[in-house]
Subunit: 434 residues, 2 copies
């Protein structure tokens, strides 16, 4: 029976055109991270199961993790997120890595999900983390990077970073609302999921959690308040931290793209302080595109004595690509073949190869047809491959030590001395690219 | 209990310095492939089990494949090689992809192996394939690319490509030696493994296969013969093909790095014609570094009507890195941080950020310390991160609208107008890099 040509459910194949887009996206993500001094790291695709069991949250481990037992009876997992790997690397060299530790990676990650828009089983994710340094300065930098990254794609004006602080919410739930820890947990879950349901359902969740009507009213008032008025009415560590954060963001030139939003929760994972999510401002796309926050001492699970906190975010390639396509921010890519060097006769192969070799030495991408054929057939191949310039050999030109260059995008044709080929082609491509 | 900081057995972590080396290697591999008109593709890390069961060989599937059943009861495998994925992609668009189809990829691959020098459970592998086109021209191109690729690392003189042809060996075993198909199979296996054992063991294998002494003598004489004399004494398709191949390699300027070697077999997988292996010429490294060959109609297993043959090779990152390190071909990499912008006082953060922003806009990698401290402490941070230039702010300079640039590699220090910072730093870095 024939084998299917479809990729495994929830995954993608990348043909050259898809790869060109992916390389462009990843190149810009890397450049943005590097421009802030972040260094790239990598880790294995398979890790021990226990690395995720410890901190990754029940839903992920019980329902979404790809795990199995290897031939040596080790329980292993295909990585569903990169943060545990990053924490492991940092913990292993905690005394050697210069602080602050700035790291980025663009790994592929696996989750067993029902494939739907924006969610696939295999996706790539930019992970950016900074460990050590002053918490406020580190968070300011990371949010600045998030905004600058979207600006580098031309999408800076079309996103908004929404920020909150876990400790502000703790104060509010406990001191202002008087909720029990258990109630607060339920309210957090309800708020976290509220974008996916309507108002009635949300209020229903609150009353199930035993939140009284007067408390719901206070909660709604709180959600409608500015950070300034909250800081005045209920001064606390979280509110003060956010005020300082906004001052820093203003110095960094990104304050216009960042807003306080007390509904931002980021699940219940390992976040302990500032949390944030990046939203598309267009109304069709109501879900957070990506997010992150501060985590305390993730390296602790490796048993070292030293505590080290960090802040990070993860941005998936699927939601980024959706955003870029929605806003027409993906450029039209040129063909990747610079020059096609023809082969009209077998006897000319030595010359043809010499020309191709010289062009390659000049840094150009050069293809040959891998078959002997006439002008017309050769040009057809060159055009199918979207080559930009074709090198053609004609008998009368060869007698004069010349060859023909045809600019395939314009149809323009010129004769050059064979020795001048590289220089002339570089000139043509240079003026095309400028 | 504390979780181990070790990576999973047979895998590697890539700290920034390791990643810098990997990015350099992969960058050069990609450039070489692109310079011959090969386009990058990618596929999922997990594929259906049946994709490998069909063609990948018993040892791989039964002993080395990572496979498991997913939550939806599908039998899946973590890819152990890239060729089946490439064949699947090609089969799915066989009428759309322009011919010849030139493809490359640098995937990570998984095999359950006992970790040893040159073999790990997770490794990366450059895969290069060309499908369609004249067989001889395609093979000539691929071998030329293999040589040029090693030349681009400065190792062109230190490798030798050894070439053989399956059909030449078939003629020899059947017509000249008079072996049965079963005997020939055993002899092929013995020859394939002969680099790993001594002469006595090899001859032992032959006699176990029922090869008579006079046949062993013929076999040894054959192995000592030149291609020219073989082609004269036993003219056949395989020998003629190789003679033509060498003519093409000479036109392509790589014949000096290629030799005929009748002991090259490339296992028993899917190769049907020309096969080759690339060897390090230094005597300490006797194993093949990488290899490949011609395969017939790999797309056939997907049930399409059209047949399409190809030729390809795979080169692992572990053996490449071993080779480069053995021959001192890995350069000393510079630090990745161009500029360190200091923060001596909290009030100066707005200016410090402005300077950092301008430098980033100029394409530079810029780090800030994430803590306020004096000159000495700041320079210590800058040096630990191997920054090349530090921007320092002194009170008397600030009054004049100036700042201090310190070239960290030389200790040289200069004062510049704040507005001239980017230009001056670019000048310093430019002259450093040239």
């Amino acid at each position: 029976m024939a084998i299917s040509t479809e990729p495994y459910k929830g995954t993608r194949d990348f043909y050259p055109k898809d790869m060109q887009l992916r390389n462009w996206m990843f190149g810009k993500l890397s450049s943005a991270a590097r421009s802030f001094g972040y260094l790239e790291y990598g880790g294995p695709m398979i890790e021990s199961f226990e690395l995720y069991a410890a901190k990754s949250g029940e839903e992920l481990v019980n329902q979404q993790l790809y795990h199995f037992v290897d031939r040596g009876d080790r329980k292993v997992a295909v990585r569903p997120e990169m943060t545990p790997t990053m924490a492991r690397l940092v913990a292993a060299r905690i005394h050697e890595l210069p602080r602050p530790i700035r790291l980025f990676s663009i790994p592929n990650l696996w989750r067993y999900e029902r494939p739907q828009k924006g969610r696939l089983r295999e996706h790539w994710q930019l992970n950016v983390d900074v460990l050590g340094g002053d918490a406020l300065l580190a968070e300011t930098e990371l949010l600045t990077l998030a905004v600058e990254l979207m600006r580098s794609f031309g999408g800076g004006e079309r996103i908004q970073v929404r920020v909150n602080h876990r400790k502000l919410m703790d104060s509010f739930f406990k001191d202002t609302l008087g909720l029990t820890a258990e109630q607060a947990l339920k309210v957090v879950k309800a708020i976290d999921a509220k974008d996916k349901v309507d108002e009635a359902k949300f209020v229903g969740w609150l009353s199930e959690a035993g939140v009284r009507e007067d408390q719901v009213a206070t909660l709604k008032r709180f959600f409608g308040s500015s950070l300034d008025s909250i800081a005045k009415e209920m001064p606390c560590e979280g509110a003060n931290h956010l005020l300082e954060l906004f001052k820093g963001l203003s110095e960094s030139g990104v304050a216009d793209q960042v807003a306080f939003d007390p509904t931002i929760m980021r699940g219940l994972d390992y976040y302990t302080g500032t949390v944030f999510e990046i939203y598309d401002t267009s109304p069709e796309n109501r879900r957070a595109m990506f997010g992150g926050g501060r985590y305390d001492n993730l390296v602790g699970m490796f048993g070292g004595k030293e505590s080290l906190s960090g802040v990070g975010f993860g941005m998936g390639d699927v939601s980024l690509q959706n955003f870029l396509e929605t806003h027409n921010l993906v450029p039209k890519f040129e063909g990747e073949i610079d020059v096609f060097v023809s082969l009209p006769k077998a006897e000319l192969r030595g010359l043809s190869e010499k020309v191709a070799r010289d062009l390659r030495a000049g840094g150009l991408n050069v293809m040959t047809p891998l078959q002997v054929s006439g002008f017309g057939a050769q040009l057809k191949i060159a055009n199918k491959h979207e080559a930009k310039v074709a090198v053609l050999f004609g008998d009368s030109e060869l007698e004069k030590g010349e060859l023909i260059l045809k600019v395939l995008t314009t149809g323009e044709q010129l004769q050059v001395k064979t020795a001048d080929t590289v220089k002339t082609v570089m000139g043509i491509l240079g003026s095309k690219n400028s």
